[in-house]
Symmetry: C2
Subunit: 367 residues, 2 copies
């Protein structure tokens, strides 16, 4: 079905905290609000990437109160009313449901692309092409997800198994979804990589607002009921009061497990070559930033003096300190004002455990 | 010969700079003035170690103007006139000659132990025992040196090859010296370790003032001549003027190569079990401080959070920053206000090259 792109919307999901990029990422300074990869924050890069396809008036941001002020400053071109503030985190199903409810009230023909605020995409043109192709498929009533063709046996992502091609004259290959799989262990990840019909679940979804609301109605009737009440109050003087009241009762649930897994008309576009990264670990910066001849990355190379150093990331915060490495291989060094991290690259996932340790020992000032 | 210990003096040599403990050690804050191993500075530990045998009035410090003020504050019990200030560094031969000249003028029967200001000795009782034994041998007109029994094939030290036992009824084994050897390469160091008759040159010398002055007269007549002029002016109103004037003309020369190598009556006491370290490299702190069960050393353990970390030194300067290590083995991490060093332990000798690099690139603020 041909798509009328004037009814398409981008919904940026930006509520998360994220502890795996500690010590730069903190409770008050979550990953998406940080200029991790250069001058722009991840949120700003996400907005800029979308503004090619969507005018700011059709970019929606779902977030929490604590982050909204900073986001408005970082992307002032997005109208105030497009920031949807969750009273409390209730998972992506509720967040997506709220966005769909608000959009459908504004525009009964709305289609939406649900996109994380904190990912990196190198090949932006291909991304735009895929989004357009996905909106086409979504126009036919599918819940569409972008799958990322795996480049490694990752245990950090859920996987999507694709089935037979979806009938229809689409400009990009589209498949039915056999099932969504949780994060595998290492052995299973090795096997999944070999199958060729599994892709990473990137958390990018494209659908019509009415399609997802119908699906929520079928599978999550409680959420659907609350969303209807919220939708009726939306735009009235009771908007905030009703939202706050109804939100409290919601269960924490993700789109993936609350909706996608049981839905019938689900499709996946497997995307290779996007140069996508969820920037989920310090070590993922090696995929995103360009290493020098020795495989090293320094966010401020004038402050890094490398001596017999290879495949090492030196993230210089705003301390302005000189960082000297001698005989260092495969390391991540992150220097911030009050904390220093020195971590073997292949153990970057353990940063999370460190943050949990700090939490447990009530070291609030480092969280 | 029985020794009258009331004529023995300790001469602490404290002029050096030292770049191998950068970034803590700097031009203005040389190694011996730093509390590297705890509350006391290395200089203070050296003084305290000697005060058991020598009253403060018989402890002499040879140093340079830039360091003297700080030393006087660190060891106020040593009388002002015992600080001998070199107008400029001219090597250990000149420094030792000056001390011997001044001591002999004060006390014609003076014997002196020449000792570095910046070494560590765990077994202080044995050290005292060896010093007393060495003074006995020195009483018979020998130039005595303490050799350190090697515990590894080190390329960081010169070696002393011992010959036959020295005749005499000494309470500790004493040997003649066959030769002094410069720092060997790795292969040679391996061989030297196996011979059993080589010890490390620790820079600790014991002799009578008259013996060393006679030897200087024989081997370094220019130095001897200047020292005599300086000695005559010492204690007069012209002391400083004459010292400054005569000092300029001196050649830079060490005791080892300027005097010891050619001297005839040289003896060595090979010392095992002293727990000696020259604290010459960051990695030598593993010999000096006591590692925990994982082989780690943290100078401030409340600021080090170790996760799967082994044989790693975390030196927390005064920054008070939390230092987290994950998957780190055999490393040295040194955190200071304006510079951070991350270095594989077995490459700690390369710190010197880094300092040379900084010098070459005129990064004065880090020197």
């Amino acid at each position: 079905m041909a798509v009328d792109f004037s009814h398409t919307y981008a919904v940026i999901m930006a509520g998360g905290g994220g502890t795996r990029l500690w010590p730069v990422s903190r409770k008050e300074r979550p990953k998406q609000l940080l200029p991790l990869l250069g001058q722009e924050t991840l949120f700003q890069s996400t907005v800029r990437r979308l503004e090619v396809l969507f005018p700011p008036g059709r970019i929606i941001v779902v977030t929490v109160e604590e982050q909204a002020l900073e986001m408005r400053q970082q992307a002032p071109e997005i109208p105030d009313e497009n920031y949807l503030i969750e009273p409390a985190p209730r998972g992506t199903a509720a967040a997506v449901g709220l966005a769909a409810t608000v959009l459908q009230k504004r525009d009964p023909h709305a289609s939406m692309a649900v996109l994380p605020s904190d990912h990196f995409i190198r090949n932006v043109d291909l991304f735009h092409y895929l989004l357009k192709a996905a909106f086409e498929v979504a126009g036919d009533g599918y819940l569409v997800t972008l799958g990322i063709t795996p480049t490694a046996p990752s245990t950090a992502f859920g996987y999507i198994q694709q089935g037979r091609p979806v009938d229809g004259d689409y400009k990009y290959p589209v498949y039915t979804v056999v099932r969504f799989k949780e994060k595998p262990d290492e052995q299973a990840a090795q096997q999944l990589l070999r199958t060729g019909d599994h892709s990473w679940n990137s958390g990018m979804f494209i659908w019509r607002a009415d399609t997802i609301l119908d699906e929520i109605d079928k599978q999550m009737p409680q959420l659907s009921g609350e969303l209807k009440v919220i939708g009726q109050a939306w735009g009235t003087s009771k908007q905030k009061e009703v939202l706050n009241e109804r939100w409290q009762a919601l269960k924490n649930e993700t789109v993936d497990y609350g909706i996608m897994e049981q839905a019938e008309r689900v499709a996946v576009l497997p995307a290779g070559g996007l140069g996508w990264s969820d920037v989920g670990l310090w070590s993922s910066l090696f995929e995103v930033l360009l290493p020098d001849m020795d495989g090293n990355i320094a966010t401020n190379s004038s402050l890094h003096l490398a001596h017999d150093t290879h495949n090492t990331l030196v993230y210089a915060g705003s301390t302005g300190r000189l960082i000297v490495t001698i005989g260092v291989d495969d390391m991540v060094i992150v220097d911030t004002g009050d904390a220093l991290l020195v971590c073997k690259s292949d153990q970057a996932q353990k940063v999370k455990e460190v943050v949990e340790h700090l939490k447990k020992h009530r070291q609030e000032k480092y969280l």
